[in-house]
């Protein structure tokens, strides 16, 4: 059973408990900070965040204004040239950061929230409710997500931003929900939950204050995974012209570039740069995710010492 702490007279927990607590948390941060993957990943994201907050500081042109000669090459006035419509590609790339980043974060958060709600309640409720929720999760897990996305987006006809987010959440929650469910299941029979039940805590309170804090790392990991998924899937949808084709985003740039045969007509940068942006942003979230994985699962950490045998 859990150790009974002396409450009267001693306002805080015993020293050794605090030390262990602080120790494990600082271990965690040290592991994350000493990981090259985590540093590179968060560095890229910091840059993108800056770009999406203050695009005007870096690019001086209006991204959608068709004011220049079409299909110019690179020059000091147009670092990446212009589109077939006479827009500045550099400005489009910088301004496009915002939409991609917002979609990644918003869709990632909502997807994770849905995963947590379904996964944890399935594990905690158990029995029939678990059966139903798990079956639904498994169904969404095997239904091919992108075709489903295309079908929903096609019926909803250019609903724009909201539809894209909704579609990403609906098709993306199942993987996280399944992982969270199995971790919550493994927590369910622990002593501290029994203690909370015996204290007479309400169910939702137990879930929020006892179970969820113990799942933080998996929740963060599933947010990162959902963000990668959102970046790539949103880009795919925008590329084929679903969602709104008039937003300033990387996927939309690729859509127009493809429709104007940018690769064949000598303005390949129109397609290359936004694509690199998507890859970098997806890659940044993915790197953070791998770094996180290594912190949570020490077996995967790179070996530092020399191997003894063979």
């Amino acid at each position: 059973m859990t150790a009974v702490l002396e409450v009267n007279g001693v306002p805080e927990k015993p020293d050794h408990v605090r030390q262990i607590r602080r120790g494990s948390l600082s271990n965690f941060w040290r592991a994350l900070r000493s990981s090259k993957k985590a540093i590179v990943g968060s560095g890229i994201l910091v840059v993108f965040t800056f770009l999406s907050l203050f695009p005007g500081l870096i690019a001086h042109d209006n991204p959608s204004a068709e004011t220049y000669l079409p299909s110019l090459g690179t020059s000091s006035a147009h670092l990446l040239g212009t589109t077939s419509y006479g827009q500045d590609i550099y400005a489009q790339v910088i301004y496009g950061t915002r939409v991609s980043l917002i979609i990644a974060i918003v869709a990632g958060l909502l997807t994770t929230a849905l995963s947590v709600i379904i996964g944890v309640s399935a594990a905690y409720l158990g029995g029939f409710a678990d059966g139903v929720l798990s079956t639904i999760t498994d169904i969404f897990l095997v239904l091919p997500a992108f075709p489903l996305m295309i079908v929903i987006a096609a019926y909803s006809k250019n609903g724009g931003f909201t539809i894209i987010i909704a579609v990403l959440v609906v098709t993306g929650w199942s993987y996280g929900a399944r992982q969270l469910r199995s971790q919550a299941l493994s927590l369910r029979n622990r002593d501290f939950l029994l203690a909370a039940q015996l204290r007479g805590e309400r169910k939702w309170r137990i879930i929020v204050t006892e179970i969820l804090p113990n799942m933080t790392s998996l929740i963060v990991a599933s947010f990162l995974g959902a963000a990668v998924y959102a970046v790539l899937a949103a880009a795919g949808l925008q590329f084929i012209g679903l969602g709104s084709v008039n937003t300033d985003s990387w996927g939309t740039m690729l859509y127009w570039a493809q429709n104007n045969d940018a690769l064949l007509t000598g303005s390949p940068l129109w397609a290359i740069v936004p694509g690199l942006g998507i890859g970098l942003m997806g890659g940044a979230f993915a790197l953070l995710n791998y770094a996180f994985d290594e912190v949570n699962n020490p077996a995967l950490r790179p070996v530092r010492r020399k191997a003894v045998s063979s």
Partner: protein, 327 residues
């Protein structure tokens, strides 16, 4: 046997779910989007075909929702999928059947190749952990898999078709070449398939490498590996017959799920290369608001993925007794 029955049951439930989603989606959307499409059909079709489509999409029909639903299910199973608007007056089934072989060949071959190669690289990487091989190949492919499939497809076109001129930019065969079973046709088809195939391969391989490598690392610390080494077995024997054999099981289980991703990516690759498979047709149907074709292709993709999951499940339960006994 019980395991098999349960998996088949799940297959049927999921299939039913996909059919129902297909049925409900146009009805759930504000202002049934099929109404506009039906208006374009009028005057082209005779009464019976129009009636069948009205039931499929719930447009000006007096039948109850439930009876529409059962008629729709019946039509799905008997192959009455309607007429394609894009390829009027072809029936949906003829369009689908023409597209299917291209996709099965392209995606099927590349998926199996990616699985085999990825698993192998994962095995060798984990075995030589931290050495040159492990610090070069896996990271490269993992970074590549962060890029969207269609973007790598575009880059492949730019590099190998536009700049170098090695491969054609689009299509599955040169226009005007008559399909025949001779070398000139086959080599033409292969040439067209190289770039889309490579794109899918390069982007999907990273996932296999990562999971296999991680499983392998876990397995390598097991006691039976130490035991096998202590017995003086050769490295290759320990690597493949002891470690990889046990590490591959979760990878096989993941096969079904990952296939969904591969198929999704393949849709965009087909679009980029204008490769006349299921994915390309699906997007054509979307652009032309050809809902009968779109619905049917969505069902085909779903059924294909479900079948692959079922097969992967069967293989796993054959290979791993634990999968049979536990739930």
């Amino acid at each position: 046997m019980r395991h098999f029955i349960r998996r088949t049951g799940f297959f049927l439930v999921t299939l039913w779910a996909a059919l129902t989603i297909n049925f409900l989606l146009p009805r759930l959307m504000p202002g049934n989007p099929a109404v506009a499409m039906m208006a374009r059909f009028h005057g082209h079709l005779n009464g019976g075909a129009i009636r069948a489509m009205e039931i499929a999409f719930g447009v000006n029909t007096k039948a109850s929702l439930l009876s529409q639903y059962f008629t729709y299910l019946g039509n799905c199973f008997t192959g009455h999928w309607g007429i394609s608007l894009t390829f009027f007056p072809s029936s949906v089934s003829s369009v689908v059947l023409a597209a299917l072989p291209w996709t099965i060949a392209l995606v099927g071959v590349t998926t199996v190749l990616a699985f085999v190669l990825g698993t192998l690289i994962g095995i060798i990487g984990a075995w030589n952990r931290g050495k040159l091989f492990d610090s070069v190949l896996p990271p490269i492919f993992i970074v590549l898999s962060a890029f969207p499939y269609f973007f790598l497809g575009l880059m492949a076109i730019l590099l190998f078709s536009v700049k170098l001129g090695w491969f054609p930019t689009s299509g599955a065969y040169t226009n005007g070449v008559t399909p025949a079973f001779n070398w000139s046709y086959i080599s033409d088809v292969l040439q067209h398939a190289v770039l889309p195939g490579l794109t899918i391969l390069v982007t999907s391989i990273g996932g296999w490498i990562l999971t296999m490598r991680n499983n392998m690392i876990g397995t390598l610390s097991e006691d039976y590996i130490r035991m096998a080494r202590a017995k003086g077995l050769s490295s290759r024997l320990v690597m493949f017959n002891y470690a990889a054999r046990n590490a591959i099981l979760p990878n096989l289980t993941g096969f079904g799920m990952s296939l969904g991703f591969v198929v999704s990516g393949a849709i965009l690759v087909e679009y980029v290369f204008a490769y006349p498979g299921v994915g390309y047709m699906l997007l054509q149907a979307v652009v032309n608001e050809d809902y009968p074709l779109m619905q049917t292709l969505f069902l085909f993709v779903t059924v294909a993925v479900l079948l692959a999951v079922l097969i992967a499940d069967g293989v796993v339960s054959l290979l791993d007794p634990r999968a049979r006994s536990t739930k």
